[in-house]
């Protein structure tokens, strides 16, 4: 059974259709790459899926349950967690406290939350920064903080919005490896928005291409790079 079904989702901002009639499915354990030029509607789709705002039309079905109208906190508790393209660290709290806030979604005990948080901080290899204030971390580390924090909520479906944006190649590589490790553990399904085509091709099992709010194509990475429509509409415009 599909873990996530997106059925004819549209989102309008006034006259602008940021998403229009987007449909696709994700099966458990896979990595879905979501690509498209700037302003294609990728982040908007994440927002519709996670309850940041409701879709104007269509349905989002997660784990067999209709998500429309649910608030982000409920969505998170049901097991769907997202990172923010424009990072949102809890600036005056330490890295540890940031990740603990995520973990507290699953426990009321600070002691357990602290253990869960430390575990995820180790996963992103930031143990040495554990007591640093989040607001003072450089961008690459704030992106990793976002990842550790959502992992601590113990999601079944993880939505990563440009976690590699603004990182140097070494840091990107580290995150690619992390995404692949999460996949190999087999517990978490992932949807990844990324502009770096090489990274997307490396990690994705399937790719959905958005353009001007519409789904332009869907297929294996190989099919996508060879799709002439994608090349003209998306790759063509960038290269």
């Amino acid at each position: 059974m599909a873990i996530l079904e997106i059925k004819h989702v549209s989102k309008f901002f006034g006259g602008l259709a940021a998403n229009s009639d987007v449909s696709f499915e994700m099966s458990e354990g896979m990595i879905m790459g979501l690509i498209g030029p700037n302003g294609a509607g990728k982040t908007t789709l994440f927002n519709c899926i996670t309850g940041y705002y409701p879709p104007s039309k269509g349905e989002v079905i997660f784990d067999g349950k209709k998500m429309n109208g649910l608030q982000p906190d409920t969505v998170c508790k049901l097991g769907m967690a997202r990172t923010w393209q424009k990072v949102r660290p809890l600036a005056k709290m330490t890295l540890l406290d940031n990740v603990m806030v995520g973990a507290l979604c699953r426990t009321n005990s600070l002691r357990i939350a602290r253990e869960m948080a430390i575990e995820q901080i180790k996963v992103v290899r930031m143990e040495h920064k554990i007591n640093f204030l989040a607001g003072g971390l450089p961008i690459g580390e704030r992106k990793k903080l976002e990842v550790a924090r959502v992992l601590a909520t113990q999601p079944k479906l993880l939505l990563l919005d440009e976690v590699m944006g603004g990182l140097n190649p070494a840091e990107s590589d580290e995150l690619i490896q992390l995404i692949l490790d999460i996949k190999s553990q087999g517990k978490i399904t992932q949807m990844v928005i990324e502009h770096d085509m090489k990274a997307i091709m490396r990690i994705s099992d399937r790719v959905v291409v958005l353009n001007s709010g519409e789904k332009l194509a869907e297929g294996s990475p190989q099919e996508i790079v060879n799709n002439p429509e994608v090349i003209t509409a998306y790759l063509g415009s960038e290269h």
Binding site: C76, P89, M100, L104, C105, N131
Partner: protein, 359 residues
């Protein structure tokens, strides 16, 4: 980038800190045995009361980041409930105060359901508006509140356990101990909040509501929880004030002035910290007393700096006592410009610098 400073850790206190705390508390309990001056005791009581009010606000304003500028509503509700029940039904204040708390919690939930839909400056304005509605209601509901005339009580009934009279409230001493205990209780409550899930969720909401929401935090529930805790203790402060001063009217327990003063206690001391409101009270209580008793104007004139008959001298003598709002305003500007994290935050930074740490 700020490295974590273990001296000011949010968790756990050092042995030195615990010892200092115990000594200070013991000294405060022993204080009335040695100092009999009613004036000094009065000032200490105002200091404890200010700490209670500031710390209560700190929970919703400092920790949760919801800048309510309408806390006079809860203070007034506590004060009115207590004195109305005492003067009309002869219900003793230590029962009345619980009803005051209950009334304030209901009021907080109503205000929360209106104001928490709004964020930032809109929330601030809504909190002011709702508190003004409460004040105008008290002013016009003359059959219950006696309106602008206010409520005066002559005697506070003696506090008895069984038949033993614990105190008859004939001196300042019982008030001193009640206020001290209340101040210690609110500091304890804040400590508990900070060391529990509540504290983490409150601060997450303060730092970024959308991020908090996406991490599983139900904003409505947690913001209202913070407001309810805050309102309950502010109400208690109002009940205490009512039996201490024995007279209340809308312009003393419900004005916007009071709401602003409550906010200033934390802002000046340092918001979102356990001792910020204590430090804020140490600054504000003596300052407002100095303004009230006009010692500043007299000091300036007596020292010869300003001539009594000059324009400035006359102005100071006539108006300084009424200029507390202006002085507070200047103080806030100074604090925001030079000590954005309050007096406490400022001194922490200075000590960190002196110890060679990065500020």
């Amino acid at each position: 980038m700020k490295p974590f400073n273990p001296l000011f850790s949010q968790r756990g206190a050092s042995a030195v800190q615990v010892t200092v705390g115990i000594v200070v508390i013991a000294a405060l309990f022993a204080f009335p045995q040695f100092v009999k001056s009613p004036y000094v005791l009065h000032m200490m009581i105002l200091f404890f009361l200010s700490t209670l009010m500031g710390q209560s606000w700190n929970i919703i304003g400092g920790y949760t980041g919801q800048y309510s500028v309408g806390h006079a509503a809860y203070f007034g509700t506590g004060a009115y409930t207590t004195l109305i029940l005492l003067s009309t039904k002869e219900i003793a204040p230590w029962y009345g105060m619980w009803l005051g708390i209950a009334a304030s919690i209901i009021l907080a939930l109503i205000i929360g359901s209106i104001c928490f839909r709004l964020r930032g400056p809109y929330f601030v304005l809504a909190s002011i508006a709702v508190a003004e509605i409460v004040r105008l209601t008290a002013l016009n509901l003359t059959s219950i509140t006696k309106g602008a005339e206010g409520i005066l009580v002559i005697d506070i009934p003696a506090f008895k356990i069984g038949e033993t009279v614990i105190t008859d409230f004939s001196s300042k001493v019982p008030y001193y101990y009640i206020a001290l205990v209340l101040a210690l209780v609110i500091i304890g409550v804040t400590w508990l909040v900070q060391h529990s899930k509540l504290g983490y969720y409150f601060q997450a909401i303060r730092e970024d509501q959308d991020a908090a929401h996406s991490l599983g935090i139900n904003l409505t529930i947690w913001k209202n929880s913070a407001l309810v805790i805050s309102a309950a203790f502010t109400s208690l402060a109002g009940s205490f004030y009512a039996i201490f001063v024995k007279f209340i009217d809308p312009s003393t327990v419900l004005p916007l002035d009071l709401s602003v003063q409550i906010v200033l206690i934390s802002i000046i001391g340092g918001i979102g910290t356990i001792f910020g409101p204590v430090v804020g009270s140490l600054v504000l209580v003596p300052l407002s007393e100095a303004l009230r008793s006009n010692v500043i104007a007299e000091g300036l004139i007596n020292s010869g700096l300003v001539s009594e008959t000059s324009g400035i001298g006359i102005f100071l003598k006539e108006h300084l006592a009424h200029a507390h709002v202006l002085i507070y305003g200047i103080l806030v500007v100074v604090v925001i410009l030079f000590m954005p994290e309050g007096v406490l935050g400022y001194f922490r930074k200075m000590t960190a610098k002196r110890k060679g740490g990065k500020a």
